[in-house]
Symmetry: C2
Subunit: 117 residues, 2 copies
Amino acid sequence: MYKRKIPVDLSCPLRLTISLIDSKWKSCILDELRHKAMRPSELHKALPEATPRVLDLQLKEMVDDGLVTKTIYPELPPRSEYAISPLGMTLIPIIDAMLQWGEEHQELFEKKYGSPD
Amino acid sequence: MYKRKIPVDLSCPLRLTISLIDSKWKSCILDELRHKAMRPSELHKALPEATPRVLDLQLKEMVDDGLVTKTIYPELPPRSEYAISPLGMTLIPIIDAMLQWGEEHQELFEKKYGSPD
DNA sequence: GAGTATATCGAAAAATAATTCAGTATCTGA
DNA sequence: TCAGATACTGAATTATTTTTCGATATACTC
């Protein structure tokens, strides 16, 4: 989340959940991190369409929200790793459901809106 | 969805699903419509924080995406009703999961980011 | 020393989403 | 006839998100 002028109504459970996930990349990041902790550069390799900048910004929000954990290794050149937190793990069933839904309906929407040919 | 300059990558199942749901109100709209078909004015009463304008815009996208059905009754004064479609229904388990997650973690985030007091 | 890779950040621009407000048109009830 | 409700739309403005670009700092390899 980020400090908005118009704050999210946390008392609405649906909007709370949505506000934590709803961005171009957060769900993908969670899906990557669920398998293993990753360094920013690895994450960028796994999600090449996301610029390092967005990944960085979104990871920071996710760390703030407690969904992801960051470990900095005091080495040079610098090394850091992001891992999914226990709280983040509780979102995995939702990610899975979205993943499965997307797989089941991909063809429909590619027909509808044009496949990447 | 709507016609973007930077199109959604439909081949990523996660991003397809997210792109259909991810907005301030769509998940709430689905949650309302799952119970019964509703007129725009009813929907606005149920979600008073959403202006009629956003509801209208988002309903239109959801109709385009096939998640929602619109029926116009040729009466005066005008009457129309929006209902969840069979495709939209298949998203309900995801909505439910998000709803439940939000309920379970509401307190945590209200503590973290300030409750509406 | 030049080039590469590492992680991170700042600032500006561009893209997208949501809000606000005014306006269309028609009927009902006061 | 005037106010209110109905559904809908256009345009401008504001808010939010994402992209793009360039910079920092350090160690490694050639």
